[in-house]
Symmetry: C2
Subunit: 167 residues, 2 copies
């Protein structure tokens, strides 16, 4: 969800400014891990535990139409690591209802460790989720995965649709 259909990077930068009064340029965190990019928040994870953080995320450009298109040929599940941040649970469900109302509750999974989720394909921005997948893996480009190259990298949803057209 975050970093794939929800555009989490601008939100992190915005909340970092609000909560720590530190301004970060998106280009400056290129190649850095989450902890390296937002060190003041690394231990407390205060930003992700702030009410509203997940509810007000922007949709990743192109995600709505691309997911709709994929649903013509695939059963699409939204699988989100969320149980670490209890406030996020309802916010994520409400966010999906607003932006992806065509996705049924049956196809939403809020979890911790994604290793027991078995799908034919997985699109994720974190190698920790992709590495143990039984299906084909697609890594959505993000500042924190720039240095990791053992999964197919896509830069945007157009590239994902291109991939599935060839499958």
């Amino acid at each position: 969800m975050d970093g794939v259909i929800a555009d989490v990077e601008p939100q992190l930068i915005k909340y970092y400014q609000q909560q720590y009064n530190i301004t970060i340029e998106r280009s400056a965190i290129h190649g850095l891990s989450g902890k390296e990019a937002f060190p003041e928040d690394a231990d407390s994870k205060k930003m992700l535990n702030t009410s509203g953080f997940f509810r007000t995320l922007d949709v990743m450009p192109g995600a709505v139409n691309a997911v709709k298109k994929l649903m013509e040929n695939y059963e699409v599940f939204i699988v989100s690591a969320a149980t670490e941040f209890p406030l996020s649970l309802l916010e994520k469900v409400d966010w999906l209802k607003e932006h992806f109302p065509f996705i049924e509750w049956r196809n939403v999974v809020l979890c911790g460790d994604k290793s027991i989720i078995k799908t034919d394909y997985i699109i994720d921005d974190h190698c920790k989720n992709l590495d143990f997948s039984a299906g084909k893996t697609i890594m959505f480009n993000a500042h924190h995965n720039i240095k990791q190259n053992h999964h197919l990298r896509v830069m945007n949803w157009d590239e994902i649709l291109d991939f599935f057209e060839k499958e």
Copy 2:
């Protein structure tokens, strides 16, 4: 979760009495589906959408110690169908924190359709969840599954521990 580690039947009977003023004996719903047992609530599912319903469930007798024991030899995940009832999401996480504080957020999955969850074993009270499991299935006895006999039935957590001692 419900009907396996959380004792949902007495709660349904209690809420049915409170919300519809209809008294049901546990023995009277033996063999009935949920809809047959609680017909007034079948369409609205009002009981399951009531604040507090999931937060105040009793723990299934023996579940805490049995899960602890299983965790000595297995990686245990709590997988609960919850996204249909958004209010339940935080309540379920809070309930687990109270009664099963030894289960990490990494091992909690709140979902809709459980068919993409792949584990070596699954303990569930609903055939709809057991039938599509890749792992060995264990059906926890409940009023609504009395007539279904194509999975190993257990009556309580002692029988589950007996099963795993022989594995």
